[in-house]
């Protein structure tokens, strides 16, 4: 068994496996580094930038940075909190996130982060972009108003030939998620639920499920996001 690597997060002594990234290692050490695009066990994308930390004076994404011996990671600092809040605010203004009528409300990671970082009024102007709802698939509804382009779905769900069920289409500000109807033709109810659970927001919705979880029992109704990693946030 290889020896563990010693490093620190905000001065706390931590240990990591060889080759482990800072985000996974922080979780194993009971330290919460906020994130949106990362899924444990799936190749990291570094796309949301919410897990930005500071290492040796440089801002880096924790999910794509392997731990090195003696590394001193800055995580919970005023500067990084504000940087993360700015990213969350940017995600809110560039989509149409209407929490009051969204069935992911209470289970939504973006909403939970906004609460955790006490987002009030975003510092950026709302864009109110024109986005479409794609409801053609029998099991999954794509609401692009809410998509944050994290690629979790693209990376997580593949058919037996290894083809992704989801893909990006177009470029730049027109970039959007779409479903491969051929690969996704036989999505089961269980898989549709998994897809909905993996999506950090309400962009991928299992059809005809809506609001069957009562308020008070949803994931973030009683405890803020990150509570499962550490009791001291």
């Amino acid at each position: 068994m290889s020896e563990k690597i010693k490093f620190t997060i905000d001065g706390k002594e931590c240990f990591a496996e060889q080759g482990q990234n800072v985000l996974d290692a922080s979780r194993d050490n009971g330290v919460y580094i906020p994130f949106l695009c990362h899924v444990k066990g799936i190749k990291q994308a570094g796309s949301c930038r919410v897990c930005n930390v500071k290492i040796a004076g440089r801002t880096m994404t924790a999910c794509t940075t392997p731990v090195a011996a003696g590394m001193a990671v800055e995580n919970d600092t005023p500067e990084l909190r504000d940087l993360r809040l700015a990213i969350i605010e940017a995600l809110f203004v560039e989509g149409n996130h209407f929490c009051p009528s969204c069935e992911k409300s209470g289970n939504c990671e973006l909403q939970a982060l906004a609460y955790k970082f006490q987002m009030m009024v975003p510092r950026f102007p709302y864009q109110f972009p024109q986005k479409q709802v794609d409801a053609e698939n029998a099991k999954i509804l794509i609401d692009r108003n809410r998509c944050i382009l994290c690629k979790r779905c693209i990376r997580s769900f593949k058919d037996e030939k290894g083809r992704s069920l989801f893909a990006f289409k177009s470029r730049g500000h027109k970039l959007q998620i779409c479903i491969d109807e051929e690969c996704a033709a036989n999505i089961t109810d269980e898989m549709a639920q998994e897809i909905m659970n993996i999506c950090p927001v309400g962009a991928l919705i299992k059809k005809e499920k809506g609001f069957n979880e009562p308020i008070g029992t949803r994931k973030y109704d009683n405890k803020p996001i990150g509570s499962d990693i550490t009791s001291v946030i």
Binding site: E103, E208, F211, N212, E213, P214
Partner: protein
């Protein structure tokens, strides 16, 4: 010189509206209108949304009675998911929704009587507006004010326990409900510390009724004649003719009590009801097709419901209903201010219904949702506190809403409210040289009787200003007075 008087905003009502009254050069009222000056657009922007979102999305129309919209939409979607037309749900599904609805009706009626109307009754229509408000009531009649607050709180807690939140919950879903009531919640409502238990709510409801009846006895002339006019009345009734605020068939009676809509299935409402649009208001004017635009208008709400139903299926409210009906010798009651009386009888009925439901074990266990063969279209009706509420949705093959039509309770009362304002304006203002604040409040008292929810964009704390604008015959503003 002709004059135009504007009362804006109308106070102690839910939402924002204004009244204009036109006087000719002799001081005669030539025209009066209640304008609804806000545009909502929910029917349009719900298009394209997945159908199961409608009960949660459309209830955002209102912060006052969102439960009514929540349930009416859910009832329409019950039809779409093949769960029947209102009476096909599981016992738990239907009873939890009923409890939610009666909790809503209870808190809404309590709010209206104690907070919005009692200042007019306790201090008089012509009292100093500095006193004639809810703060004035709290100062002079603190026990009554506390009752109002606590009754509202009780109803709101019932909503929270059934819908998940006091305002804008998510309890009702297509085909049923998403939760049971817990034993702890039930026991709190049944046996909670005074005053927040159902027995006290019933006791206070009776006291509120007695207060009104006492006032009526002393002021029969005013209560029986103020803004009174003959009209038709429409509401849901249970199939056996009982008062039922959650589900039933559509019945309408004319001003003399003759049935003009004979207990019809509301899925076919378009066969019976049309809507007229007028250029000066965002609110439409519904009417019974058979009688036409001129004569087909009707009233909805507590007075209409007690005019259409044959009996009330709870004992204490039934006793009061018999007194109420005896007052008009069993005939249709067209007295606008009796709407308060009818509303308080319903307050008592809602409390009794909540007690019955809370003692029902179906709330604690049993299947929550039922679904059948999917349909493309569904209509949901409910008796909201303010009257009959219509929700109608049609979906496409991809489960998206492609058409929505809402006829909101207050919309049904549009013409009657205009009629009431006209009666009062003619009575109070004709030939008067000076238009006084009590005269304007009289117009508002007539509107207030309907407990209108004009929409929910305007919420003001404390006293809202009244503004009178005087215009000459060329529509130039010649005088402005703000109270």
């Amino acid at each position: 010189m002709t004059r135009k008087i504007t009362i804006e905003p109308v106070t102690r009502v839910e939402g924002h509206g204004k009244v204009t009254i036109h006087l000719d050069d002799k001081g005669n009222v030539t025209q009066s209108r209640l304008h609804i000056v806000e545009f909502r657009g929910f029917e349009r922007f719900v298009q394209g949304r997945p159908y199961w979102e409608a009960p949660v999305l459309v209830q955002r129309l209102c912060g006052i009675c969102p439960v009514s919209h929540h349930l009416a939409a859910a009832k329409a979607l019950d039809v779409i998911v093949g769960a029947g037309t209102g009476d096909g749900l599981t016992p738990t599904g239907e009873k939890m929704r009923r409890l939610m609805h009666y909790g809503q009706t209870f808190q809404s009626h309590a709010l209206h009587f104690f907070h919005l109307v009692s200042p007019d009754l306790l201090f008089g229509i012509d009292a100093d507006p500095a006193i004639r408000n809810v703060i004035g009531v709290a100062m002079k009649f603190p026990e009554l004010a506390v009752q109002g607050v606590m009754m509202r709180k009780f109803g709101q807690e019932v909503i929270r326990a059934t819908a998940g939140k006091k305002i804008h919950g998510t309890g009702a879903i297509p085909g049923g409900i998403n939760k049971h009531l817990t034993i702890a919640e039930r026991d709190e409502f049944l046996k909670g510390a005074d005053p927040l238990n159902i027995e006290k709510m019933i006791e206070w409801s009776i006291a509120a009724l007695d207060l009104f009846k006492g006032y009526h006895k002393a002021n029969a002339g005013l209560i029986d004649t103020f803004a009174a006019f003959p009209s038709s009345h429409l509401s849901l009734v249970r199939k056996d003719g009982a008062l039922d605020l959650y589900h039933g068939v559509l019945r309408a009676v004319d001003a003399n009590g003759k049935k003009i809509l004979h207990d019809v299935d509301y899925q076919d409402y378009l066969k019976y009801i049309g809507e007229e649009v007028k250029s000066w208001s965002y609110m439409k004017f519904p009417y019974l097709l058979e009688l036409g635009k001129e004569d087909g208008w009707y009233r909805v709400g507590p007075l209409a419901r007690l005019n259409t139903c044959d009996f009330i299926p709870t004992p204490l409210a039934q006793k009061e209903f018999e007194i109420f009906r005896a007052y008009t010798h069993g005939k249709t009651n067209n007295m606008t201010m009796h709407m308060h009386w009818a509303r308080l009888i319903e307050l008592l009925h809602a409390a009794e219904m909540m007690k019955d439901l809370l003692n029902d074990p179906d709330l604690l266990k049993g299947d929550l949702v039922i679904k059948g063969t999917k349909q493309k279209e569904g209509v949901g009706l409910i008796e909201a506190p303010r009257g009959t509420l219509f929700h109608h949705y049609r979906i496409n093959d991809n489960d998206q809403i492609e058409m929505a039509n809402l006829i909101v309770s207050t919309t049904n009362n549009n013409k009657p409210m205009n009629e009431a304002v006209l009666r009062v304006a003619v009575d109070q203002m004709t030939g008067q040289k000076e238009i006084t604040e009590p005269m304007m409040n009289a117009c508002e008292v007539a509107i207030r009787a309907y407990d209108p929810c004009l929409s929910c964009a305007t919420h003001a704390l404390g006293k809202m200003p009244l503004e009178i604008n005087l215009f000459d015959s060329k529509n130039n503003l010649i005088d402005k007075k703000r109270t």
